[in-house]
């Protein structure tokens, strides 16, 4: 290491620069500047808002770098991946390491290091594919990905990061031994959230808990601090429960029938935000749709597939396909962003299933997000004015995963009096990300607070967004900051407008 004894003056020797050095051609095939993108490339789908007052993260930075992190299990799995759909080499090779994905990656925004970026995670996948084992380290970095797909929007080379991370997560879930607590917590989530009935049962005591302000009292007494941080995160996220209302199996259109559509009720949406479903169905009917919402429909499996629980997902998906088959629908409509992006990919996700592959693609092709569908259909029902400034928050699984940005904004702008405000750093995830805010509460909280600050800075009176997870997340952050703001799904806003309700019906909730 010590070079101080080397002579420094090149004039001491004859012609030292003629020497051959280490920059000759190298033949390692994986190291070419290659394929469909260029290191200097840019242009495609570049983000409009980029974090400016970016700061190094708070405590969450310790989740990812440095020795002695708490989650280590000492695992060493080699080879890292088995033969059942490892992340595809071809898709990995599409990445030319240009780095355009970095500034919109929420974990890069927080941590400012390479391993927690799409480029870095793909690099780790590539290494794990042929050289390196699966260890606590690379699993940690893959785990910390929110799956927001902002990188897919930003990538000029068309890298399909969504497929890569899903494949990797399935491998991790199958092969990596998580610590017992981690395993138990994940199991608890997946025994609860995808099952509306269980969720409803679990929510019943919650309602009492809220009615009597138990949470606030416990907070005051400092008892909450004794709970494990993940349980605390869950508690903080729980919404106030309203009376639940189910949507009818068939709803007739108002006026002339323009389409016959299926309606997916979701899980969290159905239990915690049943108003959104009712509003959606009323809007669809008002726009001339016959709405069919099969009684026996379960979870779409989005949470499972995003967490790498492949078999569990496939079970959910098959059942949902069965529930909607033979109904002769023009489209299948979903109002939750996270579910929608998975539903549209059913064909790819069930490609190995000889019995379901074709049916899954047929199903997936019919799926549309509700605002996407309404804009395609064109408005007929009269819109009454709603004079209010509303900040529209892009749910990642709507904007990045489905490319649906314009339609919900148009939906809102078609309402007279509506002042739609843009949120700074719109491309950056709010930290909700499915079950992420329960599994990784520290980074999620920092992202949530950042989003909440940006929302408050718009000066809007309410927030409108298309995903239940985002609502819970932003609400929790606002509460932590001692603020509050009414929230609504675009369909609740549109429903209020069509029904001619006063703007207070949205603001006083």
């Amino acid at each position: 290491m010590d070079r101080r004894n080397d002579s420094l003056d090149p004039r001491e020797t004859g012609n030292p620069y003629d020497s051959v050095d280490a920059t000759e051609r190298q033949t390692d095939s994986s190291a070419q500047v290659s394929t469909s993108g260029g290191p200097g490339a840019h242009g495609a789908g570049s983000p409009q808002d980029i974090p400016m007052d970016t700061y190094a993260a708070g405590d969450s930075i310790r989740q990812t770098v440095g020795r002695g992190r708490p989650t280590e299990t000492g695992s060493y799995i080699f080879p890292a991946f088995d033969d059942h759909h490892p992340p595809e080499k071809d898709l990995i090779d599409d990445c030319v390491h240009c780095g355009f994905c970095l500034p919109t990656c929420p974990t890069y925004v927080l941590f400012g290091e390479e391993m927690d970026t799409p480029r870095g995670r793909i690099y780790l996948m590539n290494k794990a594919l042929d050289e390196e084992p699966m260890t606590d380290n690379n699993v940690r970095h893959w785990d910390l990905c929110l799956g927001c797909m902002a990188c897919v929007t930003a990538c000029p080379s068309g890298v399909q990061y969504d497929k890569l991370i899903e494949a990797t997560r399935a491998q991790v879930e199958r092969r990596y031994e998580r610590s017992p607590q981690d395993k138990a917590f994940r199991e608890m989530i997946f025994q609860l959230f995808p099952y509306p009935n269980r969720l409803r049962l679990a929510a019943a005591p919650l309602k009492l808990y809220q009615r009597f302000g138990v949470g606030d009292k416990l907070h005051k007494a400092g008892v909450m601090k004794l709970l494990p941080k993940r349980m605390r995160a869950m508690e903080a996220l729980m919404p106030m429960l309203n009376e639940q209302q189910d949507v009818p199996e068939v709803t007739q259109p108002v006026g002339e029938k323009r389409a016959r559509v299926g309606f997916i009720k979701g899980c969290v949406q159905r239990v915690f935000f049943s108003d959104v479903n009712s509003a959606s169905v009323r809007v669809l009917a008002a726009e001339g749709c016959e709405v069919v919402a099969p009684k026996l429909q379960g979870c779409c499996g989005a949470l499972s597939v995003h967490a790498g629980r492949e078999e569990e997902f496939q079970g959910f998906a098959r059942k949902l396909i069965d529930a909607f088959e033979g109904l002769e629908l023009d489209h299948i409509i979903i109002n939750a962003a996270g579910c929608g992006s998975t539903l549209k990919e059913y064909g790819y996700l069930l490609r190995d299933d000889p019995e379901y592959a074709e049916r899954a693609s047929a199903f997936g092709e019919k799926v549309l997000d509700i605002s996407e569908f309404l804009q395609e259909l064109g408005p007929v029902a009269e819109r009454h004015p709603l004079p209010v400034a509303a900040a529209y928050h892009d749910a990642c699984h709507l904007a990045h995963a489905q490319g649906v940005r314009k339609q919900p904004r148009q939906t809102l702008k078609q309402i007279p009096g509506m002042d739609v405000r843009e949120i700074k750093e719109a491309e950056i995830c709010c930290g909700s990300a499915g079950i992420y805010n329960m599994i990784e509460p520290e980074p999620a909280t920092e992202l949530g607070d950042r989003k909440a600050r940006n929302v408050l800075n718009t000066g809007a009176r309410m927030i409108v967004t298309s995903n239940p997870g985002c609502m819970l997340q932003i609400q929790a952050s606002l509460k932590r900051m001692g603020e509050s703001m009414p929230m609504a799904h675009p369909m609740e806003v549109l429903d209020a407008s069509i029904r001619g309700e006063p703007v207070e019906s949205l603001l006083e909730r």
Binding site: D6, T23, E24, A31, Q32, G37, V65, H97, M115, K127
Partner: protein, 484 residues
């Protein structure tokens, strides 16, 4: 210093969250934007303040440990390639905009601040930061400074060096100095800032950078002109510049490039042997009169079609086509090898002709997209890595192109830097005495050769450094051993 003690010492400075020492994590840093060269560093450190940087560098100096600075890791010449048994100092956590001084048209930033953030920060006041490398969304100001980055609009506004007013620098011995940087534009004494900008991280690490911002032009007009071939388009370029017009940008694309771009982003470019995109900006009256002149010059050079952007949307579409051109190559070829040579504008026609001959001689396709105004070429040699031998042939073709450019009085690089990738060509461009002089300057800053060693200058034999590309050892290839 043995590894564990080094890790502990760094942890004492930065805390555990600022030190990366585990193998899988270190591998994420083994290359920058250029993946052809890879070296696993001994340690990666993530300082958050200038004082951190100073302490790290001082430690390296005292212990004789080589170090390399890295920003966003988007460089295309391997400038941030780590050194074996060295420390990689990553500045991506130093990303605060420290001061915005609109009346004096200056902004003070930390090195990890991204290029685009500077413009975003001052846009509301009607200003912007002029150097616009294609990677402006992600490349850091520290990296721009090290590489003296350019961009499509540098023809008129100059490179990074014209926009850096001062810097706080940690020298390779750990001393912290300020060069330039006062509110008054000029200072007596040696122009150290000029030596530092573009030194590719070999003279020290900038920890605070003062940038000049410029007023947004009153008017911008853009046209797209199609020509039979690159020679006629080149004639138009010479005509425009010769008429005393300084466009904000003149970009040329050849037919192969147009084809790729059309497939990828459908900007609706005309089918032609070459197209030019010319943008003028400035006071309205001046832009209007020069724009008419530009149109006339294009017509005189037999432009088959001239399109004038009617609004911002159309203008954006022209640029979308231009800026997507590298990415679009993937649509017509599996792989490509990009060069960054510069030739005198007057030699453009001859060099382009020779480039296409070289391609034909080797049976390879070469696409051209470049900053025509200042002769900065980006020839893209297309090849398929799955065909044995093609990668080597592509590199040969690229090498011949570089040498051709040098023969015509050109330079090795316009904006990507020499780094590790092009240093072997340095003796072709410079005499031994020139290189020795460079080396003397470098030794004055870095007497122990610990600051980004093995970059820019071809390594003199006596230095005993062994940086370079990753090569798999035969024993490793046979699966008998892990990395050595």
């Amino acid at each position: 210093m043995e590894h564990d003690r080094l890790v502990r010492t760094m942890e004492a400075i930065l805390g555990p969250e600022g030190v990366i020492s585990e193998r899988e994590q270190l591998r994420s840093y083994e290359c920058d934007g250029l993946m052809n060269y890879r070296v696993i560093p001994e340690l990666v450190v993530l300082p958050e303040t200038a004082e951190h940087v100073q302490q790290i560098v001082k430690l390296c100096y005292d212990e004789g440990i080589p170090f390399v600075a890295r920003g966003s890791g988007t460089g295309l010449s391997g400038g941030a390639l780590p050194v074996e048994s060295g420390v990689l100092i990553v500045l991506s956590r130093m990303r605060k905009i420290l001061e915005v001084d609109i009346p004096n048209q200056r902004v003070v930033v930390e090195p990890g601040v991204l290029n685009m953030w500077v413009t975003n920060e001052v846009a509301e006041h009607g200003y912007y930061y002029a150097p616009d490398p294609a990677s402006q969304l992600i490349s850091s100001i520290g990296g721009n400074l090290a590489e003296n980055s350019g961009g499509v609009h540098c023809l008129k506004y100059g490179f990074t060096t014209n926009h850096v007013m001062g810097a706080e620098i940690v020298l390779p011995d750990g001393t912290m100095v300020n060069v330039g940087g006062g509110k008054a534009p000029d200072a007596p004494g040696y122009e150290l800032l000029g030596a530092f900008v573009g030194s590719e991280g070999t003279l020290g690490i900038a920890t605070k950078i003062t940038l000049r911002i410029v007023r947004k032009p009153e008017s911008v007009r853009t046209l797209l002109a199609a020509f039979k071939d690159t020679e006629e388009a080149g004639g138009a370029v010479s005509g425009i510049i010769g008429a005393g017009i300084v466009p904000a940008a003149i970009e040329m694309m050849d037919s192969l490039c147009i084809e790729a771009v059309e497939t990828a982003v459908h900007p609706g470019f005309p089918q032609a042997g070459a197209i030019l995109i010319v943008e003028l900006d400035g006071p309205k009256a001046e832009v209007e009169s020069q724009f008419e002149q530009t149109v006339r010059i294009c017509e005189e050079n037999n432009a088959s079609e001239i399109r004038i952007a009617e609004d911002d949307t159309e203008r954006a579409l022209f640029w979308k086509g231009r800026k997507a051109s590298f990415a679009a190559m993937g649509r017509i070829s599996n792989d490509y090898y990009v060069q960054d040579s510069v030739v005198p504008r007057t030699e453009l026609g001859k060099v382009l002709k020779r480039i296409s001959e070289i391609g034909e001689e080797h049976g390879m396709r070469v696409a051209n997209v470049f900053h025509a105004g200042d002769g900065n070429l980006h020839p893209l040699v297309l090849y398929d890595n799955n065909v044995p031998g093609e990668a080597e042939r592509a590199e040969d073709v690229a090498g011949e192109i570089v040498l051709t450019c040098l023969e015509h009085g050109g330079s090795l690089t316009g904006e990507h830097g020499i780094g590790v990738d092009k240093k072997k060509y340095m003796p072709k461009m410079f005499a031994t005495e020139d290189l020795d002089t460079f080396q003397l300057l470098r030794c004055a800053f870095d007497p122990h050769q610990i600051c980004n060693p093995g970059k820019v200058l071809p390594t003199p034999r006596l230095c005993g450094e062994r940086p370079g590309p990753f090569r798999m050892h035969p024993v490793q290839k046979a699966g008998l051993a892990e990395n050595f």
